[in-house]
């Protein structure tokens, strides 16, 4: 490799990046949008849940039950007189759940011939939310029973009480694990999608051949292509980390130099993937589609960013091993929330290194074959 030639190539590619506002928009605009959305907008923690309370016979116990529900800040309670109204509301999505107190509710509680039934209908379409809502309703029910002295020994003093503690993220803020995971997604976008498009464009327009005809070797050309995007990626990483810590108060308990080193390694794997895609796809339409389907969406869904990998079926888990984001997300979560946990860092660094070698080696192989 020749230093001056390489510098000239890097200069040319960098100018090309700076000239096209769309790459800069992806590198810096999209991260900011994503961080703001995930930092402020997206959460799995429900706010006030709209619940219908069907009180077939108002008065006394039933009213007190409903008002203890309404006092809890988990629910936005609407009282209706008839089941039908609540059922229609469930279908229309106006209520997430309906709590039905039958006509003889008060009488049955007073008579004490076995527990009086309280029917709870959940909107099961969104199963995750339905489970959370069920938990809240159980909590409110228990609080009411204890307060009204109707709990019986079983609930008032249960034999075993569970005391949950959440380590590494005491307040269970979903922001604390979503925002670090986003860094992986943003860098996948820059590393894989941008690179795939840029190199595919050279192939599509035939300018790759023109570049090949210059004295620069294939290796120099690839390095020249990759360096500006590497810079963009590291810049976006620095921006995202700064926003995560400064704006969103996500704790950072590891060391910054490990974060920088691991990010660099991840970028190599992501860039390698982008290069392979562009070399095989040859045109931008296909390269764009393949990059989105094989890099961006998997970074979202198969990386452990939103969905837990060990809970997936074994065949899908096997697939996640070729998703670079998987290793990066695990390291990011530990660095941000737990610290320098080498038991997590080492195996994931090895995974990243193997993928980087695989993708970059594959690119070198395919590029030389395409020229032949």
């Amino acid at each position: 490799m020749n230093g001056r030639r390489l510098a000239a190539l890097v200069g040319k590619e960098s100018r090309q990046v700076v000239r096209d506002p769309s790459s800069l928009a992806i590198a810096f605009g999209l991260p900011i949008i994503l961080l703001l959305l995930f930092g402020y907008g997206v959460t799995l923690d429900p706010r006030e849940v709209p619940v219908a309370a069907v009180v077939e016979e108002p008065g006394g116990l039933a009213d007190r039950f409903v008002s203890s529900f309404a006092r809890s800040h988990w629910f936005d309670v609407t009282v209706v007189r008839h089941r039908r109204a609540a059922e229609r509301g469930l279908v229309a999505g106006r209520y997430r759940a309906a709590v039905v107190l039958g006509q003889d509710f008060g009488a049955r509680v007073r008579r004490d011939t076995g527990p009086a039934p309280i029917q709870v209908l959940l909107d099961g379409v969104d199963s995750n939310t339905a489970r959370l809502v069920e938990g809240y309703i159980r909590g409110a029910w228990r609080a009411w029973l204890v307060q009204a002295g109707l709990a019986g020994r079983h609930l008032a003093r249960p034999p075993v009480a569970l005391e949950p503690r959440v380590w590494f993220n005491q307040q269970v803020r979903s922001r604390n694990y979503l925002v670090p995971g986003l860094v992986a997604i943003i860098m996948t976008l820059i590393g894989t999608l941008l690179t795939a498009l840029v190199v595919a464009r050279e192939w599509e327009r035939g300018t790759m051949e023109a570049l090949m005809a210059t004295p620069a070797g294939a290796g120099e050309l690839l390095v020249g292509k990759v360096v500006p995007y590497f810079g963009l990626g590291m810049g976006a990483m620095a921006l995202s980390t700064a926003m995560a810590i400064g704006l969103f108060d996500v704790p950072f308990r590891g060391s910054l130099w490990i974060l920088a080193a691991v990010s660099a390694l991840f970028l190599l794997a992501a860039l390698g993937m982008g290069l392979i895609i562009s070399t095989l796809a040859r045109n931008q339409f296909v390269a764009g589609q393949v990059a989105i389907l094989s890099a961006f969406l998997p970074a979202f869904i198969l990386s452990g960013f939103l969905f837990d990998i060990p809970s997936m079926p074994v065949a899908i888990q096997a697939l996640t091993y070729v998703v670079p984001a998987r290793y990066f997300v695990a390291i990011l979560h530990s660095l941000f929330l737990a610290g320098d946990v080498w038991a997590v860092i080492w195996p994931n660094v090895l995974g990243l290194a193997a993928l980087a070698a695989l993708f970059l080696g594959g690119t070198a192989l395919f590029t030389s074959r395409r020229l032949a």
Binding site: S22, P115, L122, Q284, S294, F307, M312, I316, A338
Partner: protein
């Protein structure tokens, strides 16, 4: 030639342009179906195969019964025992254990003489959704244990009992939620890319000028670009729907006609946005990136993975301009809830407005670029 014949020729040409390239043909058919299958299995909030580490200082029969409850639960694949307190942190930190159950030395005594006996559950907040789900499972296991304990020792039951039933999805299977959502999202991605790229590609390759010298007027050109995207989107949606029903066995309880009516309106609004992007950009790269700048926030703010109701009010207002939000309600409603026409219409008219606005805007932008 009449304008109908001209338009037909253009539509045929557009469809051929996508179809004749074997790689773009492959991209249209293969990945969406593979994605649907992979993501439908991967995108679950349920927890399986979890490992619970138990640090049992009580070593009593009652503690063993409690632990047996965890061993028997389907979510937990493995129960490992920790010998001493110092092993707790490394087990959790290295993710060898997903949660730790700590039973203190006084457990059996407290259970007998001074209930409640306290048991600590330590969860991994790095994966906080999993932590919350595991906490829910653990509560249910302890609830069972308590009920049995009360039955053994004799105690009074509460005066009122909850009977919980989930409608529309009785077993609360998260696949029933995710798969209909994927029908919307995958159709969206493909249609959006096809439309965003169509004009940009012509412009980049220089064939756009050739189109301009044909007798086609701007609105005919635009219609010629809209209809093929609609056809591709409908075909795509049909294949994905077939897989959702045929492979995943998601019940479809609504009317197929309503679904297609919703799909057409949805695709029109998506095509409008795609053509707007297409008429604003100069190159394919800008088109793909522009499509991306729309797609990513739009999917995140659609209610696909996280409920819109959880978002802050200003974000919820923002989502009103998002066509995916409405179509998701229609697809999920028609799959699981047997949604009636008037409820479908309530979601349809906002999409019609979005479609009208974006298509008109695209025509204006387009004419502006042509002039």
């Amino acid at each position: 030639m009449t304008w109908v014949a001209r338009l037909k020729a253009l539509i045929v040409k557009e469809l051929l342009a996508v179809w004749k390239d074997p790689r773009s043909r492959l991209v249209l058919i293969g990945p969406p179906v593979v994605q649907l299958i992979v993501f439908a299995y991967a995108a679950t909030y349920d927890v399986h195969n979890a490992t619970v580490a138990v640090h049992d200082e009580s070593r009593s029969a009652a503690a063993a019964r409690l632990v047996a409850g965890f061993r028997g639960a389907p979510a937990f694949a493995e129960v490992v025992h920790l010998r001493h307190q110092g092993a707790v942190r490394p087990a959790l930190e290295s993710e060898r254990a997903d949660m730790v159950l700590h039973i203190g030395p006084d457990f059996a005594r407290d259970l007998r003489t001074d209930p409640p006996a306290k048991v600590q559950l330590i969860l991994d907040g790095r994966r906080s959704n999993m932590a919350q789900v595991l906490q829910g499972y653990s509560r249910a296991i302890v609830r069972d244990f308590n009920a049995r304990q009360v039955a053994r020792t004799g105690g009074t039951l509460p005066r009122a009992q909850l009977r919980v039933r989930a409608w529309f999805n009785p077993t609360l299977d998260s696949q029933w939620f995710i798969v209909p959502g994927l029908v919307a999202v995958l159709t969206l991605v493909v249609t959006m890319l096809v439309t965003a790229l169509t004009v940009a590609r012509e412009r980049e390759l220089g064939t756009f000028e050739q189109l301009l010298v044909t007798p086609l007027r701007p609105w005919e050109l635009l219609l010629g670009k809209t209809l093929p995207a609609l056809v591709i989107g409908l075909a795509e949606g049909t294949v994905i729907l077939a897989v959702a029903v045929g492979w995943f066995g998601i019940p479809f309880t609504g009317s197929v006609g309503l679904l297609y009516a919703g799909l057409v309106v949805f695709l029109l609004s998506v095509t409008g946005v795609g053509l707007m992007i297409s008429s604003l950009v100069g190159t394919q790269q800008q088109a793909i990136l522009g499509a991306f700048l729309f797609l990513v926030p739009a999917v995140i703010l659609s209610g696909f993975a996280t409920p819109i109701a959880n978002m802050p009010d200003w974000v919820q207002t923002l989502t009103l301009a998002n066509p995916i939000r409405y179509f998701l309600v229609i697809v999920r409603g028609l799959f699981l809830k047997g949604l009636g026409p008037e409820l479908v219409w309530a979601q349809m008219w906002p999409m019609l407005i979005i479609a009208a606005v974006t298509l008109v805007a695209a025509t204006v932008l387009f004419r502006h670029r042509v002039a």
